[in-house]
Subunit: 480 residues, 2 copies
């Protein structure tokens, strides 16, 4: 090999010439992240506005010492979802093994594009997705692919549904008579609109179905909307049910929806990005009743399965639809009996997210996951009881997962001041007790949203949060 012309530890020498140096650098950086992860309560859930400046990229490269310093600054300026009082979003503390699994897959740098480039990992992905499909009630005909996030999972599912309904893979939509439409509840995830925009259907292709007071799709309105669409000459082709809505975590009545999908011969997609994890709990699985009837399912282990981002998948009841209604082959690829995963995926070259999922499943085990999910329900119940105890608080919806969405409507203030009150309470919780709840705008009002996802959030911490709420409530007018 020629003389090294770049920093000595830029690459690991293939025969170990710099093994000691790289080990030292690796240990220093591993120490930084382990120190952070082992003391996350010393970091606030969200960083203070910081004066960290982005250093310009140097010609010569920085020293090991400076590199480590910059990594520490990066940690200091980041969101801290590992904090047990970070209960604001579906961003979870990652399983330790998923972080280490990511390290393994990064060093291996295999490419999920083709079997040749990931001979074991491509097969592993197919296998694990079959197993998970069976947990959803699918049979051995099912299968799917992993994608980098739930938005891509929904995109792929709706692309397949569209291609199957209208045979437009080759010629596109411009010759189609009548407007293709889908139905989804008025609180479905924004990625459904995004998918329809990308797919050339336009955001107006998503027909909104009413939801009830608990953010659950109204099946009666769904049928009305389907009938109306046909009357207007539109061309319905799919229904999206949501299992775990973004703001309140509620679950659409999947079984009833599946009956309508059957009746009208529409593709049923279940966006179970969040709620899909319930198949791992014997106690809670029933909430997804009917999901086995779905033609496709989105499920993101990066949320309630605690896998480091990204880790998401789209499953199909019939794996063959990917071959017939989606596959784009690359002419330069070698043909093998195994379908290269890049040909049946919205992505091509892809990182091996399967490693961190598989190792976490192996290590934590099915029982461990069941306990994690069941614990989330216990803490949500405790949290929700605290909300109910206070007459100045209202629940947005009856919790069905581990999300509690509530807000203050204090009688001592006129209605038009309530949003401000909740905004100030959110900030007060963050400042006074390092508790982060999010503040979604929902149906025109500000709500406080707690996602009881972190396994280290405790009963006493929840009680403490409500002490802070009470203090805020009691002293609000005085402080003005």
């Amino acid at each position: 090999m020629d003389d090294l012309r770049w920093p000595k530890e830029a690459f690991i020498h293939p025969e170990g010439e710099n093994k000691e140096e790289v080990r030292q650098l690796a240990e220093s950086i591993m120490d930084k992240v382990l120190d952070y992860a082992s003391s996350v309560t010393e970091y606030p859930p969200l960083p203070k506005e910081s004066d960290f400046e982005i250093p310009s990229i140097s010609g010569e490269g920085v020293s090991n010492r400076e590199l480590i310093h910059q990594i520490q600054e990066l940690i200091d300026c980041s969101m801290n979802p590992n904090h047990p009082r970070y209960i604001g979003h579906m961003d979870s503390i990652p399983t330790f093994v998923s972080c280490l699994g990511e390290l393994v897959s990064t060093f291996l740098n295999n490419n999920m594009l083709s079997l040749e480039m990931s001979p074991f990992l491509s097969r592993l992905e197919v296998h694990v997705l079959e197993v998970i499909g069976q947990m959803f009630g699918y049979n051995e005909q099912a299968g799917g692919v992993m994608v980098s996030g739930g938005t891509l999972a929904n995109l792929e599912a709706l692309a397949v549904a569209r291609n199957q309904a209208f045979s437009v893979m080759e010629n596109g939509l411009t010759e189609i008579k009548g407007k293709p439409v889908i139905f989804a509840s008025d609180v479905c995830h924004a990625s459904i609109q995004k998918a329809c925009m990308l797919l050339g259907l336009g955001t107006s292709a998503v027909i909104s179905v009413k939801t009830n007071d608990h953010s659950k799709l109204d099946v009666h309105d769904l049928e009305l909307q389907i009938e109306r669409a046909y009357d207007q000459g539109k061309r319905p082709f799919a229904i999206v049910a949501t299992a775990g809505t973004t703001v309140t975590g509620n679950i659409d009545p999947i079984f009833d929806i599946s009956q309508l999908a059957d009746k009208y011969q529409l593709w049923l997609h279940v966006d179970a990005a969040y709620g899909g994890a319930l198949v791992f709990s014997d106690l809670e699985r029933h909430r997804l009743k009917g999901i086995a009837q779905a033609d496709s399912i989105t499920f993101n282990p990066q949320k309630w399965m605690y896998i480091a981002k990204t880790c998401a998948m789209v499953l199909f009841k019939d794996r063959q639809v990917l071959e017939g209604d989606f596959r784009i082959s690359a002419p330069y690829m070698n043909e093998v009996a195994f379908t290269n995963l890049g040909e049946i995926n919205v992505q091509g070259t892809r990182h091996a997210d399967i490693v961190k999922l598989w190792l976490s499943l192996q290590y934590i085990g099915l029982n461990g996951y069941q306990q994690l999910i069941d614990q989330g329900y216990r803490f949500t119940k405790i949290f929700t009881e605290e909300v109910r105890k206070r007459s100045f608080l209202v629940l947005q919806a009856e919790p069905e997962t581990n999300i509690c969405c509530f807000r203050g409507e204090p009688a001592y203030l006129p209605k038009e001041k309530w949003d401000d009150w909740n905004r100030e309470l959110q900030q007060q919780l963050l400042d006074a007790s390092h508790t982060f709840v999010s503040l979604p705008l929902y149906r025109g009002e500000r709500w406080l949203r707690a996602v009881l996802l972190n396994p280290f959030t405790s009963r006493s911490q929840i009680q403490d949060i409500f002490k802070q709420v009470d203090i805020f409530y009691d002293h609000y007018l005085e402080s003005k």
Copy 2:
């Protein structure tokens, strides 16, 4: 906190209660990957067909010891792109710092969806992409987003081009009169067809432009095709130029294409997934002449910049088009002056690929990258000279990057046997000397393709490969 009900090291305790145990497990796994990465020449570039069975997922979870054992088996069964004789694909040995950067971003688990969820990293991504945009000749109006792979980058670029040309974000394509079409060379990447399929344009929306003997787009044919499309009532809206074709690494004449894009008022997208790295070399940057005129550029640091997968981006000359012709807002997101990156990205929740890119740029420095690229050219020249020395070998194209595509056409065999000869040579190189070159089917024939990407591939290794080629050539008939 309740009693632990899952393995003790499933999560790092937020206050360090299991710090020593997790450190031990982390060190064991780090040792495995460092041992692998420091002795990659002991692993073949591609694994032997293995009898490794996928263990079923257990209820109880496996021990630390078993976990580490399974990681070793996984390493043993994987593709080994770190081997200096793995010269078959654009899959590079990852920079050491990109692996460690991935570790950092995984533990932090920030979400590139919104500024709230990645307060520093969202800003860092915007900054670094502006800097890289300027290296391509863009001004401060430019910007872009990172996406999980080049296929998504091409998809986003063409989505924006389509939305801008036809104003179809809301209403979709079914009302459009005339077929929207784009132009790309007959050797463009399959992701262009995939993008058109996804976008509802259909794969037939890609009009193939002839290429010359060196896989470069024929500008004269491009103009003919554009004129013909208008004559047929089609609606051209974009041209895709390729900078670094998949099989031969050649670069379309971007400047001449940009003149036609101007003349016909078409969006110019440059798929510089591979060749974009040339902006880091003073010596080679000129090969991308005209790229500053492009409306959008795909660039994948996951290839020639040696960043672990995935790391890709799409850049736009005018960042405002993302706001006007692509942005889908989530109603529950808080509005801030900074546009949340999830709203202007085909993805939503997203992993922080910026960390490994930024740390690698910082550590290796601009000069280090320049030297890496220039070294690739030197070795390609050496490799190509060896091909030219042999009358039984032919070059597919004049190399313009670090790819040499060639094949044997031995006079002692009839033409119809040449494909088999090359296939057998590929296998022989792998078996006898752990050399992996790929075997693409290109224009109906099998070729051997060497990507001189690994910085540890040496002159003597190249000479050794050709010794093997000569031995194979000399003894081929005897062995039959």
